[in-house]
Symmetry: C2
Subunit: 157 residues, 2 copies
Amino acid sequence: MLRLSKLTDYAVVVLVRLADTERVQTSPGIAATTGIPEPTVAKVLKTLAAGGLVASQRGARGGYRLLRPLGAIPVADVIAAIDGPIALAACVDGSLTECESQGLCPVRGRWDPVNDAIYRALSSITLADMQEAAIPRAFRVPGRPAAAHAANVLPAE
Amino acid sequence: MLRLSKLTDYAVVVLVRLADTERVQTSPGIAATTGIPEPTVAKVLKTLAAGGLVASQRGARGGYRLLRPLGAIPVADVIAAIDGPIALAACVDGSLTECESQGLCPVRGRWDPVNDAIYRALSSITLADMQEAAIPRAFRVPGRPAAAHAANVLPAE
DNA sequence: CCAATCAGGACCGACCCGGTCCAGTTAACG
DNA sequence: CGTTAACTGGACCGGGTCGGTCCTGATTGG
């Protein structure tokens, strides 16, 4: 059913949380405010750093900070960073070397237009859009949406 | 990585094959011409019948036939029939009853615009489009594309 | 020098998926 | 009317992937 990995959802939550301040934030800190278990937050942040979405500062007083504003991060980038390149991959079997070499994998050709369409769709939506959608209509205020929506994955025990 | 189930790819192959004639075709027959194992073809066809994409004729001389022309079958319908409703579902855990009851699942709200965009993208592409894309450019002829492309999943040894 | 923090792995259990198979039902044909 | 060919609708199982945790380094500020 076009499963989206749960890690990707966590990534969105974490990124939105990171946007709250310019200062670097530690993964334990983010874990505390979001309710996501700390090791998982760390894993997500490491992956996002590898994907070039956040910058890391090592050592004491280190942490992570956002590299782009939310409006400049299409959700396609987040998915690509966490789940790998966006493609309805059916070439799952180990023969992906062969699949690469002979450029006319019939499956790939067949789904190419579909992949393109999905990629375009996912590129047109930014995290800023998702941030708004995450706030239930009742709570949406004309003013600046604050951190209230960030701690909504788990009731924080 | 937005995995597409392999069954869905089989479904496209089978549907394109079914479009070759008006007459009903048996699943053993389709299995033979496509190279897909017979039990799998049967499973795919059963699912497609349940999804209303093909009609079945039981008994001897029975088989399946297409209900709509390829150009009238958006790939979204195929995916929905095989993989269930199109949604980047993160609500995987057993608590989906609770997820239904309280209408403000934050995850769901957050990904709603994304789901909509993907659904629209998948609805705009029909099997006829994929049929063309499946034929390598070199082999594409102005005339009517025949059954040549149907037997391309496995070399059928 | 010590503590805090990120880096980059390995590791494990649970769940889902692909693929197969079997008993039952339906319908054509001789 | 029996036989045969085909769909129906489940159950079933093994493998692979994923979520989640943990551990050992490397780095930096105090």
